[in-house]
């Protein structure tokens, strides 16, 4: 999981690359990193298959998040359950506007989550302030304070859309390209 998300997935494209890899130390290292992939893949599969989300609610989209966990959409099918403490959560779904008053706390909650941790910005508010973009008390997007992996537009975001966003996140986890 590199910080800048610069990993490629094709091992070699050209013949000469093998030579280059053997000579260049930087490339050699990245090649070795790729050899480690099967183990990493297994772990990543485990991580993506049991994303426990942090059970909190900020605004309207939180209700849709609850609906996503309830009977019709049943997030438990994907192994996603809600935990009430950030220490045991992997996924923080920012489901509403963040006020300046709340912002330090959101940041602290994010810091309290153990690695690996992921953030989904759910809804317009979490993306850029949404309908409250010109308010005096709203932070213009969750990514101003914490790194965000997946953005899901919508106001409110439907549970289907949330599910889609989570599947996108799972793909990203499996490939190992993440923001945080």
């Amino acid at each position: 999981m590199s910080a800048d998300g610069s990993q490629t997935h094709v091992i070699f494209t050209k013949k000469d690359e093998l030579l280059e890899v053997a000579q260049d130390e930087k490339k050699r290292k990245s090649f070795l990193a790729k050899v480690k992939r099967p183990a990493e893949y297994l772990i990543n599969w485990g991580v993506k298959s049991s994303l426990w989300m942090y059970a909190w609610g900020l605004a309207c989209c939180a209700i849709e998040m609850m609906a996503f966990g309830a009977a019709r959409w049943d997030s438990d099918r994907y192994g996603i359950i809600a935990r009430g403490t950030p220490r045991q959560a992997d996924l923080m779904i920012v489901n509403g506007p963040i006020t300046y008053m709340m912002a330090p706390r959101v940041k602290r909650l994010f810091n309290q989550m153990p690695q690996p941790r992921y953030v989904i910005a759910m809804g317009e508010c979490a993306i850029n302030g949404g309908p409250f973009w010109d308010s005096y008390s709203i932070v213009k997007g969750a990514d101003k304070i914490i790194p965000v992996d997946v953005y899901i537009p919508g106001c409110p975001v439907n549970p289907e859309a949330l599910l889609d966003g989570i599947i996108k996140l799972q793909d990203k986890i499996l490939k190992g390209e993440l923001a945080s």
């Binding site: 485990g46 298959s49 049991s50 438990d76 994907y78 935990r83 403490t85 220490r87 153990p114 690996p116």
Partner: protein, 377 residues
């Protein structure tokens, strides 16, 4: 289930689902029995003296229990999620592996990968030790529980007494888990756990006296063997029938000891945010989480041994399968209770423990004593 209200009127889909369910259950029973046959075949190899050697029994029994409780505890989470989901009109885990069977594996992998946080302000030694101190005793208790007449890790004569002694160590670990992380919710949860454990330990032990008195022994196997035979040729001589009240007291008390709904105040999510596990992450959390499930298995196993005739049962199914089935039955019963009941409050729990269960258990012991004194002569 249809999405719209019109579809909701046709909830009955004909008999086929039920037939499939019954067939599945039969296959499951068969599989368990087959495992039992394999075990008894292994047991019949070699001379009897080899199997009666305490070292051999100890090692094999411990390995068996470790495997069962470790994997079982893990898969119990899946069973619980699936079972609860079915009660709650949804599916439960079904994406990773067939029928979601790989879900616990994924959970374990992930939890192993998680960062293990020790907060700055924590008492780090206590916080590190706590899961071990809490977890080990509940594991040790299986040593004296007989799976079959042969497969018991240590057939000690003070078996039940040993179990009682060992279980009372768990609250120490939990209190450490409450103190170590320097978090008020942890502390509250741990205090609640300790108070609850203390209140229910006494009725639990008193309820054990009934079966012990009938068997005239503290040995697990002897207690089971004392329940052999039938009344009128068809009612098994299980303790649960004559000592129904004792059984209920025991059931309630061990439910409280496990700390599950309706007695889950130590880790009530909406009150104390998972209580004494609030600050734990990664593998330490796994140990504290498994604690609950190990407790569950232990309580159910004890209930089966003391009141439901342990591994005894008519012969087409072997002892191993009988014990497993009874164990599963008790566990599922507890899961059903968890799915539909509310959580009680701390003072109500204390009231129930000290003011109702304790006198009831004492009276129960008195009755059994009188009854035995009259009949045994």
């Amino acid at each position: 289930m249809g999405l719209y209200a019109e579809d909701q009127e046709q909830l009955y889909h004909g008999p086929i689902p039920y037939i499939i369910l019954l067939a599945g259950a039969a296959v499951a029973v068969g599989a368990i029995a087959a495992v039992g046959i394999v075990f008894s075949y292994i047991g019949s190899l070699g001379p009897a003296s080899f199997w009666n050697n305490p070292w051999v029994r100890g090692i094999i029994g411990a390995a068996l229990w470790a495997a069962v409780v470790g994997a079982g505890g893990l898969y119990l989470t899946l069973l619980e999620r699936k079972f609860m989901a079915r009660v709650q009109v949804r599916y439960g885990p079904n994406r990773w592996g067939p029928y979601g069977l790989l879900q616990p594996v994924a959970d374990a992998l992930k939890l192993m990968r998680k960062e293990d946080i020790i907060p700055d302000a924590a008492d780090s030694l206590v916080m590190r030790l706590a899961p071990i101190v809490a977890f080990a005793p509940s594991f040790m208790l299986f040593a004296a529980v007989p799976w079959t007449a042969t497969y018991v890790a240590s057939e000690m004569d003070i078996g039940v007494l040993y179990i009682v002694a060992v279980t009372s160590l768990t609250p120490i670990g939990v209190l450490m888990a409450g103190w170590g992380p320097n978090n008020k919710y942890n502390l509250l949860g741990a205090m609640r756990f300790a108070a609850q454990e203390l209140a229910y330990e006494v009725p639990l032990i008193l309820a054990m006296i009934g079966p012990i008195a009938v068997a005239q022994s503290l040995n697990g196997v002897a207690i089971v063997e004392a329940q052999a035979g039938y009344w009128f040729g068809f009612i098994p001589k299980w303790n649960i029938f004559p000592q129904f009240f004792g059984a209920i007291i025991f059931f309630v008390a061990f439910m409280a000891e496990t700390g599950r709904i309706p007695f889950d105040i130590p880790d009530a999510e909406s009150e104390v945010v998972h209580g004494f596990t609030a600050e734990y992450s990664g593998m330490k959390f796994v140990m504290l989480l498994l604690l609950e499930y190990v407790h569950l298995i232990a309580g159910a196993a004890l209930f089966v041994v003391l009141y439901m005739g342990g591994y005894l049962g008519p012969s087409p199914i072997n002892q191993f399968a009988w014990f497993t089935l009874k164990l599963l039955f008790v566990i599922l019963l507890m899961m059903l209770i968890r799915a539909v009941w509310f959580r009680v409050r701390i003072d109500q729990i204390m009231n129930l423990g000290w003011k109702i269960l304790l006198p009831a258990a004492l009276i129960n012991v008195g009755f059994i004593g009188v009854f035995l004194a009259l009949t045994v002569q």
